[in-house]
């Protein structure tokens, strides 16, 4: 009897390996090998010179050094600013909307309609969206036309020629594309909160605001943190929108050039050495963020309840 059982589990284990093989094989070939190759290239001087190629010549860390003395810190800052411009409104609006949508007392007409509408931009091709904004917000475009005709402004606003204007357009697009998604996620999280907590609070006479800040927010903290970090990783990859909006120039004054736009420039120009060093930078930053996500996903005590119980127990014993 025992022998039979042992035999069965051993033979089925092989199937486990087989089933996961395609995934790992594909990842090894298309991600791990390229990673090693990218890291290797970062130490070589290797670029296209018109129709000729220079390199590969070993140069050690010189690619990294020249990267740091280039405008790389500026581009990192740009990426961060444009991410914040989109993320802060996104999370605030999503929280507000989610709490409204999940409030049983609040009658909102056309809830389904609104849900469908706010999620729509998430599916739109970011590059086409940016192309659209480029056409609409240009100096002689429809938006300026409307504002001029309504008398709101005296002369055309040159949106894409000012740093604030261009960055705000990018932030606006990011906001529109993601706030719907975040709202839906937060709604699900709020609906997962035990309703008896709310009932108890109401009996104690809590106002809406108090309920929101003292109960809702802390309860969904894990999801908020998760959203923050995944949004940060997404922000790191910001490319389509500023690339198409500014035609790859990162104008004005290189204030909308993001890290990936910079990487793209080098890859298109076949400048493998610098692209490699830049990729390694990005990989390190991404790896750190990945680690945070990993910790959160495998955290056995996501909302602190277990450690609170532990402390209570300790306190009781003492």
């Amino acid at each position: 009897m025992q022998n039979q059982k042992k035999l069965k589990t051993v033979s089925y284990a092989k199937w486990g390996y087989l089933f996961i093989l395609p995934f790992f094989l594909s990842y090894a070939i298309f991600s791990l090998i390229p990673l090693a190759d990218t890291i290797r290239n970062s130490f070589y001087e290797y670029y296209a010179f018109g129709l000729k190629t220079v390199g590969p010549n070993w140069t050690g860390l010189s690619n990294y050094i020249s990267l740091l003395s280039s405008d790389l810190p500026k581009y990192a800052w740009n990426t961060f600013v444009m991410w914040i411009l989109g993320f802060v409104p996104q999370i605030v609006v999503a929280l507000v909307l989610a709490s409204w949508f999940t409030d049983a007392r609040l009658k909102i007409r056309g809830k389904q309609f609104f849900k469908v509408v706010i999620y729509l931009p998430n599916l739109i091709m970011a590059s086409a969206f940016a192309m659209l904004f480029f056409a609409l917000f240009s100096n002689a475009g429809p938006i300026n036309n409307i504002l001029l005709n309504m008398g709101v402004i005296g002369e055309a606003i040159r949106f894409m020629e000012s740093t604030l204007g261009a960055r705000t357009l990018v932030g606006l697009m990011n906001f529109l594309m993601w706030f719907g998604n975040t709202t839906i996620m937060l709604m699900a999280a709020i609906m997962g909160i035990n309703p008896s907590i709310f009932e108890a609070a109401e009996l104690d006479g809590c106002t809406h605001l108090q309920k929101f800040f003292k109960i809702t927010l802390p309860q969904i903290k894990p999801l908020l943190t998760y959203t923050l970090i995944t949004s940060l990783i997404g922000g790191l990859q910001m490319f389509d929108v500023p690339q198409i909006l500014t035609g790859g120039k990162g104008a004005p004054d290189r204030t909308t050039m993001t890290l990936i736009m910079y990487l793209n420039k080098h890859l298109q120009a076949k400048n493998y050495g610098i692209a490699g060093a830049l990729s390694v930078f990005l990989f390190i930053i991404s790896a750190i963020l990945c680690w945070f996500v990993f910790k959160m996903n495998t955290d056995p005590d996501p909302d602190g309840s277990k450690s609170a119980a532990k402390r209570a127990k300790k306190g009781g014993n003492a």
Binding site: F49, G50, V54, S162, G247, P252, R254, I274
Partner: protein, 458 residues
């Protein structure tokens, strides 16, 4: 069960094999000497040459529905491969194709491509060997005897070979709105207007009058750029390492800042953009544009067809002579269609009838000096756009004086980056020092091997 897995794996492998066949087929060895290929690939950045070719080349049978293929009478198919030129994309795609030239099948090879003065040198470099000398094609000096010397000198390399032929001469002139001239100067007569802009001082006097009357003299800083950049004394880059900014370029910077601030120009941030197009349209308040002959057909005409401004233009000499670009036809090394390419090049750049037709129908200044001089004298020659004016009279003198000795392979990049970075300065967003620093940064991003070479400012 195991068998099923093996079958599945085999099927997958087969399908993968089939799908990967959808990529480029291995080739290189299917070029038969002496026999012309069926497909002729021409790389261009817009449909200008294609249009002129389709309208004039005698051997055309018909066009495909979407106009991307021109079918010749002998069965040859001309495939037009269009990649826009902004940001160096056209060059990049062309480079990729040329580098694959000996690895792809005969039908996929680049047979002919167009280049502009801004980057021609890169392609006609004998070391790069991607352009066929016209002598190799069998074109003789007698064939091209009527062409403007400068178009040939620009394409002649140190080994004495010419590697490109042009169908146009591109001296520049001022093209102005008749109605605005009448409103402000009292007349639209080209002689009088010419006197009002005969040099920079007069030009700016007239500009003040325009401004007082509520008009803009010209569209934006990019419009005057070439007038300054054509009159520099050294190329952009020396020794393939150091960028040299000519004092004339800084004069353009100062002048543009002044003009933008005082409202003399309409502060349009570039050319070929929607705003610039609108400034040529019927509702525009912009007085004049700095354009070569081809600009009439390519830039102005699309914006005024069927509008009140359709014949509201005239031309006169520019305050300082300049030229704008020029397109050369280059035969790609490794092409499997040299006979056809030779015929196309000869017909489109040296056939008098075709060149005459281009001038008459497209407002072109064709690359046939005696013909242009003849037409300049002819009272019947003029185009509708200019209300019947004969613009060749204005241009022939300038054409004789064009000097391309300071072009370099870096011109496109330098022109674009210089205008972009200083654009923010004109808008008052950054200081002059910042603009200079930005230019240094972006030019080394565009051409990475210039890192460390530095930029010399006057």
């Amino acid at each position: 069960m195991k068998r099923r897995i093996w079958y599945a794996a085999l099927m997958a492998a087969m399908i993968l094999g089939l799908l990967s066949g959808c990529g480029s087929s291995p080739g290189g060895s299917d070029v038969v000497p002496g026999v012309e290929g069926k497909i002729l690939n021409i790389y261009v950045w817009n449909d200008e040459f294609q249009g002129k070719f389709n309208a004039n080349y005698p051997e055309i049978d018909h066009l495909s529905n979407d106009k991307s293929v021109t079918f010749l009478k002998d069965g040859t198919e001309i495939h037009w491969v269009i990649n826009p030129t902004q940001d160096g994309v056209y060059q990049q795609k062309l480079d990729e194709a040329l580098l694959k030239q000996d690895r792809v099948s005969a039908d996929e090879r680049v047979d002919m491509y167009l280049v502009e003065a801004d980057y021609a040198l890169k392609y006609i470099d004998p070391e790069a060997n991607v352009a066929m000398p016209i002598s190799q094609l069998g074109i003789t000096d007698a064939d091209i005897a009527n062409q403007y010397r400068y178009t040939l000198d620009a394409m002649r390399t140190a080994d004495g070979e010419i590697r490109g032929l042009s169908y146009q001469a591109t001296p520049g002139m001022l093209v102005y709105r008749r109605s605005i001239a009448k409103a402000v100067l009292g007349t639209d007569d080209p002689e009088t207007v010419a006197a009002a802009v005969s040099d920079w001082d007069k030009f700016y006097e007239t500009a003040e009058r325009m401004k007082d009357a509520g008009y803009y003299m010209y569209s934006g800083r990019a419009d005057t750029y070439r007038v300054y950049s054509n009159n520099v004394s050294s190329p952009w880059v020396k020794n393939d390492k150091t960028v040299v900014v000519d004092p004339n370029m800084m004069r353009w910077v100062e002048r543009s800042l002044e003009d933008t601030r005082s409202g003399i120009n309409h502060n349009v941030p570039g050319q070929w953009i929607d705003e610039w197009n609108k400034d040529m349209g019927p509702d525009s308040k912009v007085f004049c544009f700095f354009l070569p002959a081809w600009g009439l057909d390519v830039c102005i005409k699309p914006n005024v067809t069927d509008t009140a401004a359709a014949q509201d233009w005239a031309s006169c000499p520019s305050p300082q002579s300049f030229f704008w670009g020029g397109t050369w036809l280059v035969a790609a090394q490794g092409s499997d269609n040299p006979e056809h390419v030779k015929d196309i090049m000869l017909k489109m750049t040296a056939d008098r009838d075709i060149l005459r037709s281009l001038a008459v129908n497209n407002g072109e200044m064709s690359n046939d000096q005696p013909l242009m001089e003849e037409l300049a004298q002819s009272p019947d020659f003029g185009i509708e756009l200019l209300g019947g004016q004969n613009y060749l009279g204005v241009l022939s003198e300038v054409a004789a004086n064009i000097d391309l000795s300071n072009i370099s392979s870096y011109d496109q990049g330098c022109v674009e980056e210089f205008q972009n970075t200083f654009g923010d300065y004109f808008n008052g967003k950054i200081s002059l020092e910042k603009a200079k620093a930005n230019f240094e940064m972006s030019i080394t991003e565009r051409y990475p091997w210039l890192v460390g070479g530095g930029v010399e400012w006057p």
